[in-house]
Symmetry: C2
Subunit: 316 residues, 2 copies
């Protein structure tokens, strides 16, 4: 089952169920995805039983499937990315048995085709292609086995970053505020069964294809996560309960053969250049630049739909 | 004007306006504080015009005035606290012209008299007494002068911390997840005019009285913030818009004469012991311990009411 949210000018939009062929939709029996996640799996079962999709789907009206969330916790789980960045910046690369995770602003996810307003090109504007999960309510202290059963839906995320602001904030130990503006979400939130065997070991094992200004930039596979989504949920819930609709992210998708398959963020390409050539030569994004991201199955389907966005100057 | 939220078994509770004598209330013309903040100052003006308070106020039914928020950003703005902790832990203490701030979980604020469920005494359970503001919607890139006009209400916060989990997370640079469970909020959110001359230079210039298990622990004054609340809002909004109802915190209140006035968190007392005596001898909280916090005016009023809470073991 694939769910999406129509723009109806309300903060949370109108939840719809998308037909199997992707061309039509039905209105969900509940107004918003947040409300559906609060009564999962009952709402799932009602929506999965829908067989009549009377409305034509207009993708240009789709918002982020969850336009805002009560929590958004992003991991950094791809070892090849962490090791490369440590090498590029002269930090010690140590594998940790504890996931890296940070608290992310959750009051908005930018629409998949929405412009991304940012204040300054000099901040080092970068995209980050990721996969994520939306959870049901999760009790404090859950273990990873039980956490697998709390995953309601899978999503695809563009986790915007302002790289030149990141190092200073990271050094404080307090994490990022300026370096992490609002994220974006691809239009379809999907149940894991939509992926068949490409939902495996709590990971999305699809290539995430990224284009920057129309040119292929990378297509690494999501399978290489050093921790599974259930492990990330258990980590997140160690000392807190998670509300329904919590978003948990994988961090930027990366593969060990990044020189061949490319990257899902500019920072990683710059890291490769620093290691291989002694200096980064690829610049970050400029206003007007576009990024396009979508995960693709072996038979050519794009289950999460496509993020296709332009960076623009914010006006004060 | 003082606002509070009655427990009516809904997630956001029922907003009420408290009478000047604190003994009665009227139902607000809008159901929740979040809704009021989204239409501020119009809702403020309607509520401030109320003269009839027909209901007896039952403080035991009061929740956090904002039971959940779309963003909660906490500062660490008291120089005496930062300098002491750096000295105690052998870090370099450097004054920064940029505020320290981190993204905090915002999906719940624990009720002022609610039990605080935590998984393990060994985590180093600590309270942190703070002041905070609730904002109207704030545009990206606002300056501090304009940010002053976006402050709707003042609040008092207990920012729970698990100290023994904090150092590891801080070293990652990603900020805290395990070390920062849900915070609590005192029952009354108040307009700045309620404080008269004790709202000065964008700071709450009241002593915050803290008792731990019935014994006085500290009563430092909120005035000593190294940055004002408008400066913190401007910092927070540098690369993001802030939604209505954003909570911005001062960090644990601290004064340079902490040896005389005491502290609002156990970590600071332990830091004093480490510096003065070579080792911390005050333990963190145990299950069953209580903490009580309220700011007091010179004439004995407690404008935010009182946080009075017990720490309990969470059940899986």
């Amino acid at each position: 089952m694939r769910l999406a949210t129509l723009n109806d000018s309300t903060p949370d939009g109108r939840l719809i169920v998308v037909s199997p062929d992707g061309a039509h939709h039905a209105y969900a029996p509940v107004a918003t995805l947040q409300q559906a996640l609060e009564k999962w799996p009952a709402r799932h079962d009602e929506m999965a039983a829908i067989r009549d999709f009377p409305e034509a789907l207009d993708e240009s009206r789709l918002r982020a499937p969850l336009p805002r969330a009560w929590q958004w916790l992003d991991g950094s789980t791809y070892p090849s990315h962490g090791e490369l960045m440590a090498k590029a910046y002269g930090r010690e690369a140590t594998w940790s048995p504890i996931p890296l995770m940070y608290q992310r602003l959750s009051d908005r996810f930018i629409d998949p085709r929405g412009d991304v307003p940012l204040p300054d090109e000099a901040h080092g504007i970068d995209f980050e292609g990721e996969f994520g999960v939306l959870t049901q309510k999760v009790p404090m202290g859950i273990d990873a086995d039980a956490a697998a059963g709390r995953i309601a839906l899978l999503v695809q995320i563009n986790d915007w970053s302002l790289r030149h602001l990141a190092a200073r904030e990271m050094k404080t130990g307090f994490g990022w505020i300026h370096a992490k503006p609002a994220s974006s979400m691809a239009p379809f939130a999907i149940t894991p069964d939509e992926l068949g065997s490409n939902w495996k070991d709590g990971r999305v094992t699809l290539a995430l294809e990224v284009e920057w200004n129309g040119r292929p930039f990378g297509h690494p596979n999501g399978a290489a996560m050093g921790f599974s989504f259930p492990e990330l949920i258990a980590h997140a819930a160690t000392t807190r309960e998670l509300p329904a609709g919590t978003v948990i992210g994988s961090g930027t998708v990366s593969n060990p053969d990044f020189r061949e398959v490319g990257s899902t963020c500019i920072a990683e390409r710059r890291g490769i250049e620093m290691v291989d050539e002694g200096a980064a030569r690829t610049d970050y994004m400029k206003f007007g630049d576009r990024v396009r991201m979508s995960a693709r199955t072996a038979d050519g389907r794009r289950p999460f739909g496509t993020i296709d966005q332009r960076v623009v100057a914010s006006s004060k």
